[in-house]
Amino acid sequence: MWRELYEYGDRSGHPLIPGKETNQMIFGYLDAGSGSLILQAILGGAAGILVAFKAWKARLMGKQAVAEGEAETDEQTVPSES
């Protein structure tokens, strides 16, 4: 039961392991908190602030790419008037 919970998330459907769905990294059993993960880069000093900014920007661009992809898909599925 616990393994299921760790791997597939809690009752609200949120994975307890951030990024589990991507399967690209080693994952912890602990919910580290997304905001706290970015924050700890900032807390690492000037170099960390740059890393946090890059990660934040990459995340924004990723979201934008997803949004654009969805928009394209929507356009394709709109029935044409005949």
């Binding site: 951030p18 960390g48 990459a58």
Partner: protein
């Protein structure tokens, strides 16, 4: 037949089983890889040798489902952060940071940051969860940062900066206060400090804004490195070190200077000494321990002495002077219950203490007169330990009782408070070994043996 430790289940890579007094940690493939990486470091040898890490021996796993197994010595008495004093939690926090810093220097990380992984043995903080160490993967952030703030940093801030005891909070919510909670609690002056703005205000804001976002890959790609964790750890260490608690001194810290305490201490010590000689306890529970004088008496005779008292300030002084006794901050009218997952994860105080001798000096009149516990119920409670009990009876004519009842009428007090009634109640559950009258006879010591 090994029994799974009910408090060791969260990490799929490693869990503890108890096998006839032996403490065995079973590892899966990932856990074994972590152990292999850790055991090869100079850090592991050094931290084990100086007692900061629990001793660990690799053994063959008995069950076919485990990839590896480790054996640790048994901790004499397990205590929980909600039973610690301020200085204990502070030392535990510094230990957590130091171990992470030293481990990272050799390519090892700690996958969590909870004080439940730290225990106090002979007055020293020891990290016990060897399964928490694993090889550091380049680009990975410090997964335990948020947990560190919630379970170490914020509780210490509560005491140092808001003057609030952290124990009730950690007992009620073992994950600790959130950054959002702290933002509401800390005084404005403290909230304006740079460190508070980062760890509290900014963390609360970012947690709120980024809930559920996958950011680990982005951090890795952006160039996150162990150096950033080390820089954070260094600054956190400085912050934790700066947190100080200046108690008011209004509690029981001056109790030893009371006339009757100094007068009776030697006689009580001798009386307890004869009980220790008679029963040879392995585990003595000192209820209402104050400055742990009597606990230390038992400890010098080789017993595991557990000193329980409600006054954190007194017990903090006991810890800071390097006492070897086990310390528990707790209200005896509301002892730590069995709690956590399935109500079993963190066993209750009595279950962990399992004493074979109980001493209750200067206590039961406080239970009867201050907490309004019926004398019959107090005797039943002492009998529930099913072991010899050394107890001090205090007559209604005692000066302290007069203070405790200054604003109570006779009708507001339970019956059964006189010495003859006490002895009648006791006789139903115990036989009386020895007795000794102190001073003018208003205080009497009893050695009681269960019938």
């Amino acid at each position: 037949m090994p029994n799974a430790d009910p408090g060791s289940f969260r990490d799929p890579a490693s869990h503890v089983v108890l096998d006839e007094g032996r403490v065995i940690r079973l590892l899966d493939e990932r856990g074994l890889a972590g152990w292999n990486a850790l055991s090869e470091t100079a850090f592991f040898a050094r931290a084990t040798a100086d007692g900061r890490l629990i001793e660990t021996k690799e053994i063959s796993p008995d069950d076919s489902t485990s990839a590896g197994a480790l054996e640790h010595p048994r901790i004499p008495f397990i205590s929980y952060p909600y039973e610690w004093t301020f200085s204990m939690l502070k030392d535990a926090a510094l230990l957590q940071l130091d171990l992470l810093g030293e481990a990272l220097a050799e390519g090892i990380t700690i996958k969590d940051a909870t004080p439940f992984n730290i225990q106090f043995v002979s007055g020293k903080a020891v990290f016990i969860d060897i399964g928490s160490f694993e090889k550091y993967a380049p680009g990975e952030p410090w997964i335990g940062y948020r947990q560190f703030t919630r379970q170490f940093l914020f509780p210490l801030m509560l005491r140092a900066w808001a003057g609030l005891p952290f124990q009730p909070w950690l007992r009620g919510q073992m994950d600790g206060p959130t950054a959002g909670d702290m933002k509401k609690i800390l005084p404005l002056g403290k909230r304006m400090r740079a460190s508070t703005m980062m760890h509290v205000s900014l963390q609360a804001r970012m947690e709120e804004r980024m809930s559920g976002a996958a950011v680990r890959n982005e951090l890795k790609t952006a160039g996150f490195s162990a150096d950033l964790i080390l820089a954070n750890v260094r600054k956190l260490r400085k912050l934790v070190t700066s947190l100080e608690w200046n108690p008011s001194g209004e509690g029981w810290v001056e109790y030893q200077s009371c006339d009757h305490v100094g007068r009776d201490r030697q006689a009580k010590g001798e009386f307890l000494q004869s009980a220790i000689d008679e029963h040879g306890p392995e585990r003595m529970l000192d209820l209402g321990a104050n400055d742990a004088y009597f606990s230390e008496l038992a400890a010098t005779k080789g017993a595991i002495a557990i000193a329980v008292d409600g006054d954190e300030e007194v017990l903090d002084a006991v810890y800071r002077r390097g006492s070897s006794v086990s310390i528990v901050v707790g209200d005896l009218t509301n002892p730590s219950p069995s709690q956590g997952w399935a109500g079993l994860e963190r066993p209750g105080l009595d279950q962990r203490a399992a004493p074979d001798l109980v001493v209750a000096y200067g206590l039961i009149h406080h239970l009867i007169y201050t907490a309004s516990i019926p004398p019959q119920s107090v005797i039943d409670w002492l009998a529930s330990y099913e072991c010899p009990v050394v107890v001090e009876f205090v007559d209604p004519g005692d000066e302290m009782v007069a203070k405790l009842t200054a604003n109570k009428t006779e009708e507001e007090l339970h019956t059964g408070r006189t010495r003859s009634e006490f002895e009648r109640l006791v006789a139903a559950r115990f036989r009386t070994g020895d007795t000794r009258e102190l001073g003018d006879g208003v205080r009497v010591l009893y050695r009681l043996v269960p019938v």
